[in-house]
Point group: C2
DNA sequence: AAAAAGAACGAACGGTCGTGCTATTTTCCG
DNA sequence: CGGAAAATAGCACGACCGTTCGTTCTTTTT
């Protein structure tokens, strides 16, 4: 007997709306997301969609959060099943490659960085929080790899995290412009060089 | 005696408009650029501004091109005065750091990648052409460094170009979200590691 | 089964968008 | 200086924007 109450209809349609919104924001970014288009995509009225969020900004925040949960469940959490150290670190990167492959037409979370990095407001705050969190997760995983002796003892986890993230950015960038296959090959080679370079 | 005709007023105001447009697009991206805001910023009427370009898309293309010329004159061209090889390659990177420092609130050219990488049309084509061009310039500079014996003979110029660009992306990313100083320090360390790793 | 709450709708609001069209002003050249 | 040509302003347009409101229909609670 589940302790969770049965999902209310409201929550179901809200999730449905968020799924569509995430897909739309994938191509047009959070700034390009319009309630009218979203409503047409879901098959609802504008006001019906609107009522679920109260404002456009709250909708955008909800989409940003939905993207974060998606990313966590597809990239970060599965990698936690790998043993600490280099295996887990490489698992994160491997999953991230799959994520980039599935988001060649644009990643909401990365677009959001470009869209809000020069502004103020709740959305920028959310983006900064997200990026800090994943960077910290990367650094933590790198720290475990150092502790385990998989990487050099004098290595800096934060520096490793920065370089990993930079390569992921390069992967996304090239995948979007030049195709996933060549981008993946370049990034792969770069990562092999990276591991070798930091190896104990 | 200059063969060029004296600059018409039209060209002057067009350049003025483009300057303002570039500044606005720096914060809001090319998709966020609106003719009304631009006109108010310049101090002209909407239709007056509009007449200079004929369509919003042509305006965006002109801004993209203006950004490219700016980038070329501030990053690529000055570096050509350095001797071929590692000095020129490092000069490009150094200038690019300055560019990133001056564009912490957003870079039109990088935002454009996020905005158009999942679409079709003239703007995407322009972005792809730009990025290909700079990547090729990087690879060429890396090739000179290999020829000169500054970098390992078995190194792949395209691979080096990819890794350099990835670090630049990381620099822009972190500078926009966490501030230029820490981002610059991380990127600096990463570049030193990069040079050492590819060194002959 | 009745009552209260909530979800979705359709219409309308004030604004802004990009884009034409027509005057009017400004610039250029003989 | 004067007349052609170009540049700019002014205005209007239809479309879409986010948002509000009142109403209807559905769901949940009593």
């Amino acid at each position: 007997m589940p302790v969770t109450s049965p999902p209310r209809k409201s929550a179901l349609t809200r999730n449905l709306i968020l799924e569509h919104a995430y897909a739309l924001a994938t191509r047009d970014g959070l700034e390009g997301l319009s309630i009218g288009h979203l409503a047409a995509d879901v098959g609802m009225s504008k006001s019906g969609v609107f009522a679920h969020f109260g404002s456009r900004e709250d909708l955008q925040l909800a989409v940003l959060d939905a993207g974060a949960r998606r990313f966590a469940s597809q990239v970060m959490q599965p990698a936690l099943r790998e043993p600490r150290g280099l295996p887990r670190l490489r698992a994160i990167v491997r999953r991230w490659f799959e994520w980039a492959c599935a988001h060649q037409n644009g990643c909401v979370l990365l677009s959001a960085v470009s869209e809000y990095d020069g502004r103020d407001g709740a959305l920028r705050d959310g983006v900064v929080r997200q990026q800090s969190q994943w960077r910290e997760a990367l650094a933590k995983a790198a720290g475990y790899a150092i502790e385990a002796g998989h990487l050099r003892a004098d290595a800096d986890p934060q520096q490793i995290a920065f370089e990993i993230y930079a390569l992921i950015l390069g992967l996304h960038h090239d995948a979007g412009l030049f195709g996933f296959a060549p981008a993946s090959a370049r990034a792969d080679a770069a990562f092999e060089r990276l591991w070798r370079s930091w190896q104990a």
